[in-house]
């Protein structure tokens, strides 16, 4: 065609051309060569069917000379422009006869092929060149030659998709091509719970262009049930070259009887697969399950590794799964398990029989498997229950944040606004975001909390940051994180957590103390004397009150008035307590006589830790 294009250009140069947009002597139709559908006029803009790179979509064009003149049809082509005689490489025109003389009413068929070279939207301009005998000119002569005309017939729009690959597998009767989203899944053979069945699949690139290998996955279809299928794509190259193929395998490795379903996903195409696990050997009859620390029970499949998740190395933490091996009552005979073993340095078997064990129908044996990695990294192992084996895996990931310690300065006591500092043993090599939380455990019986114990920034949990190179963590830039100690004896436990690091906790004790009187006010309101006290008792045990009055000269008036207020304080502290050990006490003393002669009062409060006193002058 390149040769033809050159010829066309030379010819147009020789006879002279006109870029005409006046109606040509032709009518154009889309033609069905099977005759099933009638010809339809070719529209000015024609949408070609989406076509994969490497493939071709033909459009048969019927061109009819509808003029009353003889026309020399020179050629048709799809060009990059409406007035261009160059060829668009994504299109070709075939079945064309050059220099076809068409008398009035004659027609010709040819094919416009959309054969994209790259993905994306592609536009081509369908142009025809011709000469028409009119005004005394003649085609085929050089003395009175008819001028050549180049006419834009239609604009062809096409969408080029990625090259298509064909998926097949090798059956006993030969290769079978699979169609995506088929209603009928590909069936693996019934497989013993002690065995596996493997299909080899082939991806073929039948096109003339290289194509990247598509994503091949077995998506999880039930997050609560491990898959009985496993995929191996290690032989699939990154690119499947034109005309070549690549193999991968899907293995059906059931550990539970019954039907198992799966989906083989290749790019956006889904291929349903299924298989049935069956009992063949005696040990297949055993039902195997495991339970994690949260009580979730899982029925494992040999195809899917049993994951112990992620743990932190160097700590006492470990992931533990408890396995049950049951001989169901539907079995007639005991099933003998010759051995239960585990491989892999990070995995430890506990409680399993050390020798062959026969499990009677209806009986179960249990054992635990723990994952305690010695260092950071990924660990794998194998659990073998007789001939039935399971792959084990777990991850151990350690945070690079140096070890943590907490400091609150001086020992804590009640009624403090103190601060806690999070210290690192060395400058942090990384920046990190974590949390500090506080919990309060009262040491007073039947008391569960004190609402005043909280961070001054609000609540009991704050987000903290560590900057790279810093040796202290900070809350909003503050390394001293303020908090209140409340008015209840007990202990405050801070917990500092960063990702992949063991939670660091440290407790600080708030010791019990004698009642503390923060303020005292004495007022004469004849005929009463009012004494108002504010304070707290962090033991919630105040009982005895003592009031000693003095005259204005300082001389004691009578004997101290003793009051057992234990029940009053108990009601305050243990009925809808909203203030911890706080109290405000107002005592009214009715008197007869001149209240102005009373000068001051001394008040004593006694709780389980001792007595405290204060005094106030009457106002």
């Amino acid at each position: 065609m390149k040769q033809f294009a050159i010829t066309l250009a030379l010819w147009l140069a020789a006879v002279g051309t006109a870029r005409a947009q006046t109606p040509p002597p032709f009518s154009f139709y889309i033609h069905d060569t099977t005759g099933t559908t009638p010809d339809t006029p070719l529209p000015a803009i024609y949408q070609v069917a989406s076509t994969a790179v490497g493939n071709s979509t033909p459009t048969v064009i019927k061109m009819v000379n509808t003029s009353s003149n003889t026309v020399n049809f020179i050629l048709a082509l799809v060009a990059p422009g409406a007035s261009s005689s160059a060829r668009n490489p994504n299109f070709s025109v075939t079945g064309l006869f050059q220099d076809e003389i068409l008398s009035p009413g004659a027609s010709v068929l040819y094919v416009v092929n959309f054969a994209p070279a790259a993905t994306g939207a592609i536009t081509g301009y369908f142009n025809v060149a011709y000469q028409i005998e009119q005004n005394g000119c003649q085609v085929g002569t050089s003395t009175n030659a008819c001028p050549g005309v180049l006419y834009n017939v239609s604009t062809f729009n096409g969408s080029a998709t990625a090259p298509q690959l064909l998926l097949s597998y090798q059956s006993a009767s030969g290769p079978v091509t699979l169609l995506p989203s088929s209603a009928s899944p590909l069936n693996f053979p019934n497989t013993s719970l002690s065995a596996t069945s493997t299909f080899t699949f082939t991806l073929t690139n039948p096109t003339t262009v290289d194509t990247p290998a598509p994503a091949i996955t077995l998506p999880v279809i039930n997050t609560n049930a491990p898959s009985a299928f496993t995929l191996n794509t290690s032989s699939v190259p990154a690119t499947i070259t034109a005309g070549s193929s690549a193999n991968f395998t899907v293995t059906f490795a059931p550990s539970q009887t019954g039907l198992a379903n799966g989906v083989l996903q290749i790019a956006s195409d889904s291929f349903p697969i299924q298989g049935a696990g069956i009992i063949v050997a005696g040990i297949d009859a055993l039902q195997i399950s495991y339970t994690d620390s949260t009580g979730v029970r899982t029925l494992p499949q040999a195809a899917t590794p049993i994951s112990f998740g992620q743990v932190i190395p160097g700590t006492a933490s470990s992931a533990i799964l408890t396995f049950s091996v049951t001989n169901p009552t539907t079995s007639y005979n005991p099933v003998t398990v010759p051995s239960i073993t585990v491989t892999g340095a990070a995995f430890t078997l506990t409680g399993a029989p050390t020798s062959s064990v026969a499990i009677a129908p209806g009986n179960t044996i249990t054992f635990t498997l723990s994952f305690t990695p010695p260092s950071s990294g990924s660990f794998t192992g194998t659990l073998a229950i007789g001939s039935r084996s399971f792959i084990l895996n777990g991850i151990s990931s350690a945070s690079p944040i140096p070890s943590i310690s907490l400091s609150v300065g001086a020992p804590l006591s009640s009624q403090q606004q103190a601060s806690v500092t999070i210290q690192l043993s060395a400058p942090s090599p990384v920046s990190a975001v974590g949390t500090i939380s506080m919990a309060f455990a009262p040491s007073v019986a039947n008391v569960t909390d004190d609402p005043a114990v909280a961070f001054l920034a609000g609540g009991r949990e704050l987000s903290i940051t560590i900057n790279s190179g810093a040796q202290t963590a900070a809350y909003q830039g503050q390394t001293a994180i303020g908090f209140q100690t409340g008015t209840t004896a007990g202990s405050i436990t801070f917990s500092v957590a960063f990702a992949n690091a063991a939670v660091y906790t440290q407790s600080f004790t708030i010791p019990p103390s004698a009642s503390q009187l923060v303020s005292a006010q004495a007022i004469r309101e004849s005929p009463n004397l009012l004494v108002t006290l504010s304070g707290y008792d962090n033991t919630y045990s105040t009982g005895a009150l003592s009031f000693t009055f003095y005259d204005t000269t300082g001389k004691q008036i009578g004997s101290p008035i003793q009051i057992n207020a234990a029940s009053n304080f108990q009601q305050l502290f243990f009925s809808n307590n909203t203030g911890g050990g706080l109290f405000s006490l107002q005592a009214s003393f009715p008197v007869s006589g001149e209240v102005t002669q009373v000068g001051s009062v001394s008040v004593g409060l006694t709780n389980s830790q001792g007595q405290s006193t204060t005094s106030a002058t009457f106002q």
Binding site: Q417, L456, D551, I557, L572, T578, F589, G593, Q597
Partner: protein, 268 residues
């Protein structure tokens, strides 16, 4: 006589009844950054902010006897039990309100109309002021007596003036330039509170001055807001940082506690 009196006192005291006389100490009410007003319980260094707001306001002042709040121009007087005693609808977005102690000390200043509101026992009475000799921006107002209102004004030269105005006549009685503080924020129990770069400056009547370093960084001019939580407690807040403090100020005693943030937001 003295001997007889002492002998008589010995039998005058009756047994006290403590039932219903024990409670959690109530410190007052504080207005937070979102305008919500919360009850504050506790003692110094042990403050408990009630989780539920009792009101919302643009300005608030509370004493042990009641409170004065302003919201969208509506000024309301409350008694200690939370009962509304009077209200006054003004056009003032941010009036100055203050109540030192008894309900009779309630006073509000409407700067755009130069009107004072006082409580006559029944209603909030509007008292227009004679503008003569009244120069500067009012930063604090209080009732000096039943008939005299006391203003603190910042004048154009940054000097602070204390002015006394007759309530019956609305005329200026006296005006004095204060030698020390700049930009008076609050007057409490004889103390004058103002702001400096270093923090909150508290000056006693005898001239003794104390600076309370509230923040590590220098304060921005006009950053602090002070509102009365109760007769003896003030709520100081920094608009720039959101930090706030509860200050006990009575007689010669001054005590500063950090105000815990509410769960909804920072105190301001």
């Amino acid at each position: 006589m003295k001997r007889r009196g002492v002998e008589a006192w010995a039998v005058f005291f009756l047994a006290t009844v403590l039932h219903a006389q024990l409670s959690v100490p109530q410190l007052g009410f504080a207005r937070f950054a979102d305008g919500s007003v919360h009850a504050i319980q506790g003692v110094a260094a042990n403050l408990i902010v009630s989780p539920r707001a009792v009101a919302t306001a643009n300005r608030a002042s509370f004493s042990n006897a009641g409170g004065l709040t302003a919201k969208n121009g509506l000024i309301q007087l409350w008694d200690a039990s939370g009962k509304q005693l009077a209200s006054y609808q003004s056009d003032e977005a941010l009036p100055l309100v203050n109540i030192d102690s008894s309900l009779q000390t309630a006073i509000a200043w409407l700067p755009s109309s130069h009107v004072l509101l006082t409580w006559d026992g029944t209603t909030l009475v509007a008292r227009p002021l004679d503008d003569a000799g009244f120069e500067g921006t009012v930063t604090f107002v209080r009732l000096e007596s039943a008939a005299i209102a006391q203003f603190f004004l910042v004048q154009a030269n940054s000097k602070v003036a204390k002015a006394s105005v007759s309530l019956p006549s609305g005329r200026l009685i006296s005006s004095d330039i204060l030698p020390g503080p700049h930009g008076v924020l609050f007057v409490q129990s004889g103390w004058i509170l103002s702001q400096s770069d270093e923090g909150l400056v508290a000056e006693m009547p005898d001239g003794y001055r104390q600076t309370i370093s509230l923040l590590r960084n220098p304060l921005l001019t006009g950053d602090l807001t002070i509102e009365r939580m109760s007769t003896d407690w003030l709520h100081v807040s920094s608009q720039a940082t959101g930090a706030s403090w509860a200050i006990f100020l009575s007689g010669t005693k001054l005590n500063v506690s950090v105000m815990p943030h509410t769960s909804k937001g920072v105190a301001r």
